[in-house]
């Protein structure tokens, strides 16, 4: 393989992307895949808001409305937010720790393709006409009673995508444990790497319960199991426990990387070391730990009894403490800094008040007696959109602008970026702030429509107008991406001018082996230290230039994922169609044979010769 840029045909390029194990390319694949589902979930959200903008509306039917809310939640959490964050993790974390790739490049690719085919499987339900309709939580009594194949699409699609997520989590953990450059101690790791690390650990322990829960649901629906059927001795509350033992850590899996992204942004654009770095790390780990201790606060009204409710209420409120530590650290990072208000920084500035509002309503719901009043009302809808949109989505949009040059080599237009922010930020508050009051005024969540004369009309209209503004913001972003790609003005190593960590010391996008020589890390914000000492390149090599070991690409990940995708259809139609069982067996065999093929061949990778690296360096113009 040659590193010299060559014009390749369409077929060769496509093959390259289908078989790639390069973390930077997989990052882009995750970003594009997640971006696609983000648009799908956004369209679903717009349809929900359009249905609700006036009383007694019949824009969509009641059944379709259930489909929409279920798929909106499921898509946004599993297929948009997480994959886009994985995209940034893949693209940035190996660079931040000075690694040449992730620990398991093959599994990295497998994880992406399983997410992609799982997401495809879920969304094919729209074409088939039977869509998941029991809410994204799919509570068991409702979901086993749901007719048609909607819930089967949910259970099998998430099973496949969830497997991919688990692999990605283990991969990041091992990468960060084993592949840090010399000098990159744990307490010198950039915050985005730290949050990725903790979020990956949470994935490792939160996803297996989801796997089991989805298996129970699948068995109950398709194979005559009785886990949740009380007439057969089952217990429907088991699903709620299992789902939230997964589901609550899941929201921290989403928000921690978002915290990491904002930590980077505050530090870069305040041109100041992150305030209280050790306490930031400690708070991250503590949030990760407490995140597993609070699942039953989603179930206060189930009737677990006052003792259980009290324990989980206290644990829930305790999470506000490390989160508060973080908020104050960000504020104090800006204090006395030389602040540059760029697009990513605008998002970061907008994030603090938005997320604090979401956090405060969270503590309100943590008080079990008050939760009895708020439960299942629009107050809840407002709360979780404040933390997810005000936290995670703002972080994703900020990171899109911040890391675009590192991922694609061009710079998104700053003016358009600020326009996007303005529309999105105003639209976001307009949509969801009023929903707190809608909750107080008694509007329940997940209702298809409402009667006139309850005082909800104006509030719902305002909310829908806000959603339109958010959509305009996203459209401006898409426009920005398109014109930036057409202009294709390449940028240098550190386009923001104030990069502090290793990814900003190498070209944008980095060459496929990232670092010609593994860098030596001399402290927290090592590139900043080097720059302050007058080292223009920002890097001190830890080793002479020598041959580099690289992994081979492989088509097997996509084949394995595709086998599971086929098997999913077989499982679903096993009883009603003659082809069901053969297709199920064929799909599983397909996956197994691909796996065996991978296992039996020796794949030890290849070496890039020293001469080639030196040639690349020369071509880059004497850059060290």
């Amino acid at each position: 393989m040659s590193s010299v840029a060559q014009k390749k045909g369409f077929g060769a390029t496509l093959w390259d992307w289908l078989t790639t194990v390069d973390h930077k390319k997989i990052g882009i694949l995750y970003f594009l895949g997640g971006g696609f589902f983000f648009v799908v979930g956004g369209i679903e959200a717009m349809m929900i808001r359009w249905q609700l903008y006036k009383p007694n509306n019949d824009f969509v039917s009641a059944g379709l409305f259930n489909d929409l809310i279920t798929m909106h939640g499921t898509t946004m959490i599993f297929l948009a937010a997480m994959p886009i964050l994985f995209g940034f993790m893949n693209a940035i974390v190996p660079l931040q720790i000075g690694a040449r790739d992730v620990a398991f490049p093959f599994i990295n690719s497998l994880g992406f393709w399983m997410f992609f085919f799982g997401g495809l499987f879920l969304n094919i339900s729209w074409l088939y006409g039977e869509v998941p309709n029991a809410g994204w939580t799919s509570y068991a009594s409702l979901s086993i009673a749901s007719e048609g194949h909607g819930i089967d699409f949910y259970a099998i699609g998430l099973q496949i995508a969830g497997g991919g997520t688990l692999m990605a989590g283990i991969n990041f953990l091992v990468t960060i444990i084993n592949m840090r450059a010399p000098g990159m101690t744990y307490m010198r790791m950039p915050l985005f790497t730290w949050t990725t690390f903790v979020a990956s650990a949470m994935i490792l322990f939160a996803f297996p319960p989801l796997t089991i829960g989805l298996f129970f649901l699948t068995f109950d629906r398709m194979f005559g199991g009785n886990f949740f059927d009380h007439t057969m001795g089952g217990n429907t509350i088991i699903w709620e426990h299992i789902f939230w033992i997964f589901g609550h850590p899941e929201v921290y899996i989403l928000i921690l990387p978002a915290f990491g992204i904002f930590s980077e942004i505050f530090s870069i654009f305040s041109r100041k070391r992150l305030f209280g770095y050790p306490s930031m790390v400690f708070a991250t780990v503590l949030i990760g730990f407490l995140g597993f201790m609070v699942w039953a606060h989603h179930m206060f009204t189930v009737g677990l009894g006052p003792t259980a409710n009290a324990i989980f209420a206290v644990a829930t409120m305790a999470i506000a403490v490390p989160t508060g530590v973080k908020i104050f650290n960000w504020l104090l990072t800006m204090w006395g800094g030389s602040i540059k208000v760029t697009t990513p920084m605008l998002y970061a500035l907008g994030f603090i008040p938005s997320f604090v509002m979401g956090g405060v309503t969270g503590v309100m719901q943590g008080a079990a007696p008050l939760d009895y009043q708020l439960h299942d009302s629009y107050f809840i809808v407002a709360h979780f959109h404040y933390v997810i949109v005000g936290g995670v989505v703002l972080a994703i949009l900020a990171a899109t602008h911040l890391y675009w040059p590192k991922m694609f080599g061009t710079m998104l237009n700053e003016t358009l970026g600020k326009i996007t922010f303005t529309f999105f930020f105003i639209g976001f508050h307009m949509t969801f702030l009023i929903q707190h009051w809608l909750g107080f005024w008694g509007m329940p969540r997940r209702v298809w429509t409402y009667m006139d004369g309850q005082g909800w009309n104006l509030a719902n209209l305002i909310s829908t107008c806000g959603a339109l503004l958010m959509a305009i913001g996203v459209i401006v972003l898409v426009y920005n991406v398109i014109i930036t790609s057409i202009k294709n003005v390449k940028v240098g190593n550190d386009p923001w001018g104030d990069g502090r960590t290793l990814e900003w010391a190498i070209e944008s996008p980095p060459i496929y082996y990232n670092f010609p020589a593994t860098p030596l890390v001399r402290g927290l914000d090592t590139v900043w230290i080097e720059k302050m000492e007058g080292n223009e390149t920002g890097l001190t090599p830890a080793e002479p230039i020598k041959d580099i070991h690289m992994p081979n690409g492989s088509i097997i990940p996509i084949l394995m994922s595709f086998g599971l995708f086929i098997a999913g259809f077989g499982a679903m139609f096993r009883t009603e169609e003659a082809w069901g069982l053969p297709v199920l067996i064929f799909g599983l065999l397909w996956t197994f044979v691909s796996m065996a093929a991978r296992s039996l061949q020796d794949d030890t990778g290849y070496y890039i010769k020293k001469d080639e690296i030196l040639r690349d360096l020369k071509r880059k113009g004497g850059q060290k």
Partner: protein, 208 residues
């Protein structure tokens, strides 16, 4: 990594399973994977405990009447012994004695196969008694917990068989040493899970 590099017992590293970066990655990754598996089984155990003996009205099965400890004892002995033989195999792996390692792994596989066949017998026996998967919440939880363990044993058997035959003619190198070693980790894990099944399902079922 050079697959053709020849080793002798003297040049063979003390810890061949973690001798290269790739090997270290696999080693740590596999431990983490087992951490996830632990949570997976914990979920199954919790569900089983919650649904134990629970069925539709007039349900006629209980753990006391159903389980037969002698059979389970034999199964336990087979699996525990297979864990021991896999330790012998790893001893020979460290000493670069390929033939003996293969032999002990083959014995491990046969013991595992014996366990699995007894489990199949146990399940068919219960089904003949009318204790089918669809019969109650108890039966669903029982078959899913114990069956998931059995499935793990089956996967382990396929894995070790492939390893034994794939490497039969080429001996040990630093590439496949990690594969053998992670298999033994997996096998110990399965064994530990079985110890919990034996205690929580069978002993507590019959005595409790």
């Amino acid at each position: 990594m050079d697959l053709n590099k020849k080793f002798t017992p003297e040049t063979w590293p003390d810890h061949p399973e973690t001798a290269t970066l790739e090997a270290k990655n696999k080693f740590v990754g596999f431990w983490l994977f087992l951490g996830g598996e632990t949570i997976l089984f914990a979920t199954l155990f919790a569900t089983y405990i919650a649904l134990k003996n629970s069925g539709p009205s007039g349900f006629g099965f209980s753990t006391q009447e159903l389980y037969e400890l002698p059979l389970v004892f034999v199964m336990t002995m087979l699996l525990l012994t297979s864990s021991l033989t896999s330790v012998f195999a790893m001893y020979h792996l460290r000493n670069f004695n390929f033939k003996k390692m293969q032999l002990w792994l083959a014995i491990t596989a046969f013991l595992g196969l014996g366990f699995l066949m007894l489990e199949v017998y146990e399940f068919t026996h219960y089904v003949h008694l009318g204790f089918t998967y669809n019969n109650s919440a108890f039966s669903s939880a029982f078959y899913t917990l114990v069956g998931t363990h059995g499935f793990h044993v089956a996967v382990g058997l396929v894995w070790i068989t492939l390893l034994i035959f794939r490497n039969a003619k080429r001996g040990l190198n630093l590439y496949n040493a990690t594969k053998y070693y992670t298999f033994s980790l997996y096998w110990h894990f399965i064994d530990v899970v079985w110890v919990f099944i034996f205690t929580v399902v069978y002993l507590m079922g019959v005595i409790g």
